[in-house]
Subunit: 339 residues, 2 copies
């Protein structure tokens, strides 16, 4: 059925294979008469060219790879959605590599960036170390980091430092002076993917405190694995100390939810007795009325994918760096501290 080849078409149309190929590729060097004959033969045979054979002779895969820890956190899915939207409008195929363990990440970083596998690569939320980055750079596969960073690689990131600062500044503006921070662990082994935003948001936290001349209190910063339940436990620790914070900045919305649970456990009303602010603005955040810092997740995918397409179309550039802004979404979990 689908088994006719370009040679069958050539024979039927009474032309050479080269001519058929020219017709298929809209070459101008074909007379109108010939073109019509070829198109008729194509229609009669219900021929369509083999993508596989094209790939071999073009030495391109017509494929874009995406490496990401998609399913581990809701935010990643939203970025992927933006990526897919862009790629779907091209004739590239989108090949998915999901990463749920550091081993799998390393395997992907090793095996995927090969010219015969993908023409271009998007990496979401996974910042490569120098060794991996060098492999990407020498692999000749154009690669864009989205929500991830390496100084020598193209990337589109959100301004986590400014975002963290914005969150804490909001609490300060409300009158808070005792502000806790609950985050993922900043160091291995509890930050196996080395999500670098943690450091950035932490830095934003510190800068906002400094700017307001509020001394940093290490006992106000609790770290642990990224999950609601861990955040809940950390909040218990945080609030059970003498002179506890009156407001908490959470590294992520997921953790903010754990903080709110802990407040409920302890009989503290939010926001009257405890203010909570998150980061990301995931869908749940709106539902529970969480004040948070929004980053435009979908857009980051769109921008990254478009950068990659440009890179594939045009020759090499200098390292492209895009930083996206954040936005304070003021809902119902922050308020002035009680006197």
């Amino acid at each position: 059925m689908n088994s006719s080849t370009i040679r069958d078409v050539a024979k039927l149309a009474g032309v050479g294979v080269g001519t058929v190929s020219r017709v298929l590729n809209d070459s101008p060097d074909v007379s109108e008469l010939t073109r019509r004959k070829v198109l008729a033969a194509i229609a009669e045979l219900d021929f369509s060219p083999s993508v596989i054979a094209r790939r071999l002779s073009l030495r391109k895969t017509l494929t874009i790879g995406v490496i990401a820890p998609f399913f581990t956190r809701p935010a990643f899915v939203e970025r992927l959605r933006g990526v897919e939207k862009v790629i779907a409008q091209t004739n590239y195929d989108l090949v998915l590599f999901n990463v749920e363990t550091p081993e799998r990440r390393d395997a992907c970083f090793r095996d995927v960036p090969r010219r015969d596998r993908v023409d271009g690569l998007l990496i979401l939320s996974l910042s490569p170390e120098d060794a991996a980055a060098n492999r990407f750079l020498s692999s000749q596969v154009p690669t864009i980091l989205i929500d991830a960073y390496h100084p020598q690689m193209h990337h589109v990131v959100v301004d986590n430092i400014a975002g963290g600062q914005k969150a804490v500044q909001h609490l300060i503006d409300l009158g808070h002076r005792q502000i806790g921070f609950i985050s993922d662990a900043m160091e291995n082994p509890f930050n196996p993917f080395r999500f670098s935003h943690i450091h950035d948001r932490y830095q934003g936290y510190r800068q906002a405190l400094d700017a307001a001349a509020i001394p940093f209190r290490p006992e106000y910063h609790k770290q642990g694995l990224h999950s609601r339940s861990v955040a809940r436990q950390l909040t218990h620790d945080l609030l059970s100390q003498p002179d506890p914070p009156t407001a908490i900045f959470a590294y992520s919305d997921t953790q903010a939810l754990g903080i709110i649970e802990a407040a409920n456990d302890l009989g503290l009303r939010v926001p009257e007795q405890l203010s909570v602010i998150g980061f990301d603005d995931i869908e749940l955040a709106e539902y529970v009325g969480l004040t948070t810092i929004r980053q435009n997740l979908y857009n980051s995918g769109v921008i990254g994918a478009n950068m990659l397409l440009e890179l594939l179309a045009a020759p090499i550039h200098a390292v492209q760096k895009v930083t996206l802004p954040t936005e304070l979404i003021n809902r119902q979990t922050t308020a002035p501290p009680q006197r």
Copy 2:
């Protein structure tokens, strides 16, 4: 760098290309000595075989396609996760086709099922009409429907009828006799993807009522677009009528959340004054303590992907039909009706 071919390896190792190919494919017909020579040459050249060329000569794409409306509802992502998990363990690539409009669905149904594009296909939550199904069947591309149905295609579905019945039976067991149902629209144009579960869950609703000899009241069934806000509005309609229901079965958890919002609007306490039960058991459900019917989303992806791999390995079978059970998850939104 990556440019060495099997012929380079053959020359360096002093053997023929066929022999190198045999070594690469672990053929037993190679002497140990020769194998070592070849492996040494491979290592020296840092050679790895071109996937593209393999595809052409094997006449396989080494690719599995997934067509789905992934990002429109959280449940789909969870299924995809199960699919990815299975595919990642093979050497198939996973190519993603996201569908957000009926046009895009039709385009995917038309263009993707081609032997030179994918070796096998998984379709999530989109039930093809007969015309499309015939194209799939005649395309020679093994295809599995997950959470979708066509009588002549392999599929793995959840037992939506039994699930709906289970939900309503739970309400009846609690003593409810006035039970509403809020669902997606059952007919076009408001059900553009023809999600068939709606009919099934509706049927489960009707069966449970019949079994308890409770007459069906059409005014207790409200339909609308799938969203929290629409469900909220429908609930207002439902509860503002004389003799309103004391319990509501929601087609999905998302809609159940809208129902709860509406109850709050009206000052009705859940579950004391209104019982609500959902369907799916999405992540949010646990968070808000929603009683619901769980379907094992992740597992449906795993099972479907494994079915496809078997189909790719073995010759044609009879139509495979798998039905997965559901489970009542009893949380805090259902209770006996008030006297």
